[in-house]
Amino acid sequence: MSTQHLTMDQLLAVRDGDRSEPAFAEAHRHLGACPPCQQELDRLHQRTARLRSLATLAPVTDQFPAVRARLHWEASHSRRRKLASVGVAIAATLLLFVAGDHLISPPALDAEQQLETAMTRSQLLEQQLREWSSGSRVVDGQTAAVVIQLEDRIAALDRELSQSASREASERLPHELALWQQRVGLMNALVEVHVTRASNVDL
């Protein structure tokens, strides 16, 4: 048996049962025959127990409101970025849709298919507007004026659409298609206004 007392490294290895420590087995044997080292190990255990029983420190201020505010801020910015990119994608799609006849002369959807497409796009834009408006945002006066004008024109189109049922069947489809396509254009402009807060939308 070594006559040298155990080092702190060895005592810690014994306390933690760390067999990877060199000479762990020898240190263990030494302890059995060395009362001072046994006493030192007891002190180490006691010190550790005292550390674990130190008073629990509590925060002075509640941090959750700040956490919540940061989460909210991050979510709103992320949504705004997402909507902006969706707006650009829709604008590009619409441009293609409107100019498509001239640019690529597609094998043309028939009028009913075009009407269905316009209605679907309009619904998509409505949904985006509802999500956008759910957060009770503050807008400046000019933006609010543009929004009101766009909404008035959409309301006027909706009135025309509701009266379209009285037309002759042959006139009805092209008329409704034209109205729905205008509605998509206006809805797109409305989304853009909300996304960019721009006040210079070309009416």
Binding site: C37, R43, R52, T56, P59, Q63, F64, R68, E74
Partner: protein, 178 residues
Amino acid sequence: MDGMTLPNADAVIARAKQGDPVALEALYRAYSGPAYNLARRICRTTEDAEDVLQETFFEVCRSIRNYRGDGSIWGWIRTVTSSKALMRLRRNKYRVTDDLHEDHAPGQNSSIALRMDLESALDQLTDTARAVVWLHDVEGFTHEEIGTQMGKTASFSKSQLSRAHQRLRLWLGEEAMT
């Protein structure tokens, strides 16, 4: 600990993963106490510890979806907390020479027992040594985990712990071994 501080932990975690604000707040209410205590034991000031607490729960709320449930939720939050607290230590450049300055307490080489209380003695340790003592001896992190979090090795953590205990033993006035 999970069961004691957060009843229906599994259900709360599932809701938190869906972004339910009530569940996220429940997690904060259940674990902010131990998380703050850990942060405060590592950081020097209450301000730093409270910043760490906020950073920790901001991260927890954003990343709860990544929590796979392999270990306890407190084990996960505890790791986030210690990581943020150690990051805070690194950021506080005022103690950048930490490892070179190990003589906060007078007479550490003296045979005269100083008989500090444990809180004071802990406070006299360097930031790194104090963090290692707390993370290993109280929170139960392994030397490998501590080494990884500190960007060092397990041996570094072991050596810090050993030196810290030598100092604590001296400063607490425990009988010197001959």
